[in-house]
Symmetry: C2
Subunit: 380 residues, 2 copies
């Protein structure tokens, strides 16, 4: 194998695939990056067996010649050294050639490295995916939907299925659901798809989605999603992102969303968020980070918390409107902060159904986002 490549192109590709490199050394070859030189370009691959990322760099694109003098072949190079070497090389071009016994020469300007590589034949194959269910949507929409849901997945493995975000596509509506059993988030969006295309109970690990999010661009270029029984493939220009899908059945969350609303408060998201953040400052070290909320007779929403050894705090928020019964409820401030940061709306509607029942936060502007939080029982 041998080729000469623009260093910037190679650096970008290494940065992209590196996100999937395994940090565990139980399978040593997965700590490396696989490089394959084809007649028409070079492919880099990394995988930690949950997530795999493959980037193709074509020989030329538009007016740009990115790779020259390709002799096809393959090698696996230790990712940490390979990445740092390429980033620090002095020249604009890098020549990579594999000698015998997998020793690889990386040279640029007056710098020459000989790095011990591994046999690419020993690198695990990526999943073979048949492209029968393909959904296209804008990259920035997918990225936003991930950001607005992934924070709510469970971080403990008590119920592994809850560490993923559940995807569902039905009648042109894509919906994401995440819950850790204390709070729940749903995000829906209309997508262009053929009416025959639908799927349900596709549960993608939260960690995979966080990595996917990092490689999604912030523009509306279309990405393709290919979904199979145990793998999802996301195609973003020259990058292929694979993730395994969690095995099991996601709980039916539709029934826990209460319908019998007793109080509705409309508030400025920013003011409410600031007040909750301050009200939780002293509570943070206490268990559950509990903040109390009650509606005062003068129409003001009061938030408070009390940590006897440190002190107490009282916050007032003047709502746009309050309708219904008085409210007196306690909740985990972190769940509220997460929800308010993800809601992307100037005003929110909070709907209460009783001191010990879940309450709902939605944007006032649309119905595509819903957050549900379980209150906390307190002695006060």
């Amino acid at each position: 194998m041998e080729f000469t490549i623009q260093r910037d192109q190679l650096t970008n590709a290494i940065n992209t695939v590196s996100k999937a490199v395994s940090s565990r050394t139980t399978i040593p070859i997965l700590t490396g990056i696989k490089i394959v030189a084809h007649e028409d370009g070079v492919t880099l691959t990394a995988s930690d067996s949950d997530v795999s990322i493959e980037q193709y760099i074509p020989m030329e694109s538009g007016d740009h010649q990115w790779i020259e003098n390709i002799t096809p072949g393959s090698i696996v190079l230790p990712s940490r050294f390979f990445g740092e070497i390429v980033r620090k090389l002095p020249g604009e071009q890098v020549t990579i050639s594999v000698n015998d016994r997998f020793v690889t020469t990386i040279s640029s300007g007056r710098s020459e490295f000989n790095l011990n590589g591994m046999n690419a034949e020993d690198y695990p194959r990526l999943p073979q995916i048949e492209e029968d269910k393909v959904l296209s949507l804008p990259a920035d929409l997918l990225k936003t939907m991930i950001r607005q849901t992934v924070f709510a997945v469970a971080t403990t493995e008590t119920r592994p299925i809850l560490t993923g975000v559940m995807w569902n596509l039905s009648e042109g509506i894509l919906s994401f659901v995440a819950t850790d059993s204390h709070r729940l988030t749903t995000r829906k969006a209309t997508v262009e798809s053929t009416s025959e295309l639908s799927f349900d109970n596709i549960i993608i690990p939260g960690k995979s989605l966080i990595e996917l999010s990092k490689i999604l661009p912030d523009d509306d270029q279309l990405v393709d999603l290919v979904i199979t029984d145990n793998q999802i493939l996301v195609k973003v220009s020259y990058v292929l992102f694979y993730s395994r899908i969690l095995d099991g059945t996601y709980p039916d969350t539709s029934r826990i969303i209460p319908q019998n609303m007793k109080t509705e408060i409309i508030l400025s998201t920013k003011e409410f968020l600031g007040a909750i953040e301050r009200a939780s400052l002293l509570a943070r070290d206490g268990k559950n980070n509990v903040v109390r909320l009650f509606t005062r007779p003068d129409g003001v929403v009061e938030l408070s918390s009390n940590t006897p050894e440190v002190g107490k705090v009282t916050e007032e928020v003047v709502p746009s409107s309050v309708d219904g019964e008085d409210v007196k409820i306690s909740f985990n401030a972190k769940y509220m902060i997460d929800a308010l940061r993800a809601v992307d709306s100037g005003e929110i509607r909070v709907e209460f159904t009783g001191a010990m029942s879940p309450f709902i936060i939605r944007p006032t502007e649309h119905d595509w986002i819903l957050h549900l939080i379980l209150p906390v029982r307190t002695n006060q």
Copy 2:
């Protein structure tokens, strides 16, 4: 105690003094910030007993009214909570008032905190310093001199005296010396002072200097240094910075600087630094991070390192000039990288006196900086 203050002014003062707050809780009151309200302003103080920082905020400065309605008094507030509260308060002004039993009300806009404080009478007194030895120099010069020396102090406590930078003032020349016994750095500068003013063997902990550096502005406003037998006081506008001085006698380092130079190489600092950084990439995990340097018959300086399990690297640097005997020497790349980053000169002069003797790095442009590095014995 009570006063109302501009939140920005208070936030800045908290940020400044917080650098001295103790992270250990062995003396609980030192985890707090002492606040004293005088008739004409407010003083904030923090200390970890090695370093103390005091900032004064006057009631008004120029056209700005910073503090109003002062009732003199004092309190100590837990620094972590106090800092976070003030940073997140909603209004432009903050009112702080101490109630009975040291409970302190902090209010701003529709937010009100009650924080448990401590009795300021229990806070340790700062050292009393007689201002007989005062030296004035520009803040940016002091900051540069610290940056160019402090990296070379010892980080282990084997010889505690080496964890400090030694300051000396004699005949209008201020010099800083730092060594960890493997490498040595000196930085000198002319300062304006009366000829009677001199001091020697003033050893200031490296950690204190790193903190001092953070509060020094990047301009040439004059700062005052007051030096006593066991404390140094640095005055930067309204901030007083105190540090203890290390007890003991600093080794006489003047004699280890070799005079009988055998080879002199002049190089581009940037090219040499890049080559050393790359040459050390594979060696980093090995002990001592050793890089070899030798002068080739064709006049090129070759750097190399070899870590059999990972690979090897060869770098070439074309020097501006080489004079004297051939050189073949090994050294710790980290020491060379530190020195080259601190040298602030486009070209450097490296002077060798033999394969097992210390070598010297200086800027070609002036004689104010000198780095000395001991070579490493290798089997090759």
